[in-house]
Amino acid sequence: MTAGIVDIATATPGKHVDNSHFDDIGLTDEWIRRRTGVAARWWMDPDEPLEDAASRVCAPLVERHHDQMDIAALIVASCSTGGKVPAIAQRVAKQSGLPTDVLAFDVNAACSGFVYGLISGLSLCKPGQAVIVCAAEAMSRLIDKSDRSTGPLFGDGVGAVLVEERPSFRDFYWHAGSDGDRVGLMTGEIGGGIQLDGMAVYDRAVKMMTDTLDRLHTRGSAPDVIVGHQANSRILQKISEQVNAGAAVFVDSVEQFGNTSAASIPLALGTCVAQRSIPATGRMTLVAYGAGEAWGGVSLDYDLADAMARSRS
């Protein structure tokens, strides 16, 4: 048996901020949309602890599954925790209702964090066990909101999936890469803003995510759904033109959320479930590129029929 995604929960705590917020720094809605596809984003309350936000999506998964499955691990992907010790995964586990015999740890691979966490979670999953992979980002705490280059790009959000083994699931496979020589393309810290070489990042994001998708799809199992890191609609559009995606649904939710770093893929997937815009079961390919550089993708089966039925009710 092999593991796949069987449930999802997402949330966007805080305030909804549309592009008119940036009128004061001379950026119009039309200008922002044309360059990024972003129409709005959510910014968390600055005082809300990130572990509280993560618990909002992990607790429902624990509640729905802990009676049937041993939730053996919780992985929290984030690049906006502030880099402090301790990590937040242990507090998220406690606040979400998990018992203390759980493997709980943080992953920081910036925008690739959810994909890296998912590859790890799938690899940890054993029969009778489940793993929660969560991404929690408060990018509003990193950005300089008055910076014309990066202020409008980023948003906040949290999402989590539960993975478990099922007899019907086909093998998952993954590909990932990193290049520390390109560390200068994207950097950031809380209170220090985000520095971004926009042209180079666009160039590399298109090339590395396209290459990763090509590598995964040549191994077989054509996807029903492709979800790329939701950084910029123009990156997603370019990739969709270059890869042989067949009849797969190519997801773009940049307009609603902006770039939410590691949280972007689960937020996009959560929107698909709520809108029932993807098949309830099938195969998906998730791919990301981000600071580090770190990029990667994973092709896996999913069954979100129960999640879709729940969103209907």
Binding site: G198, M199, K207
Partner: protein, 82 residues
């Protein structure tokens, strides 16, 4: 006109005309931003030329170019044509 020039012009016009549908080769000396192109369009242009001619560009060099003609000169250097 050499076949290589025709290929280059064709690729460049395919990108430039997304923003300025009436553009022609005579417009290659105009400023990139006067053709309604932004920095990501310049990356698209560079990637299209890389793919067409099988070369790898230095994006910093491309970013320094002010006109499509300058980008064309740079790629001719890469390709090794006169």
């Amino acid at each position: 006109m050499p076949a290589e020039d025709e290929r280059m012009n064709s690729v460049m016009l395919s990108i430039i005309r997304r923003r300025t549908p009436s553009a022609d080769v005579a417009d290659f000396d105009k400023q990139i931003y006067d053709l309604d192109m932004d920095s990501l369009d310049v990356v698209d242009l560079s990637q299209a030329l890389e793919k067409e001619f099988g070369v790898e560009a230095d994006l910093e060099r491309v970013a320094d170019c002010l006109t499509p003609a300058e980008i064309g000169y740079y790629f001719r250097e890469l390709i090794g044509s006169p």
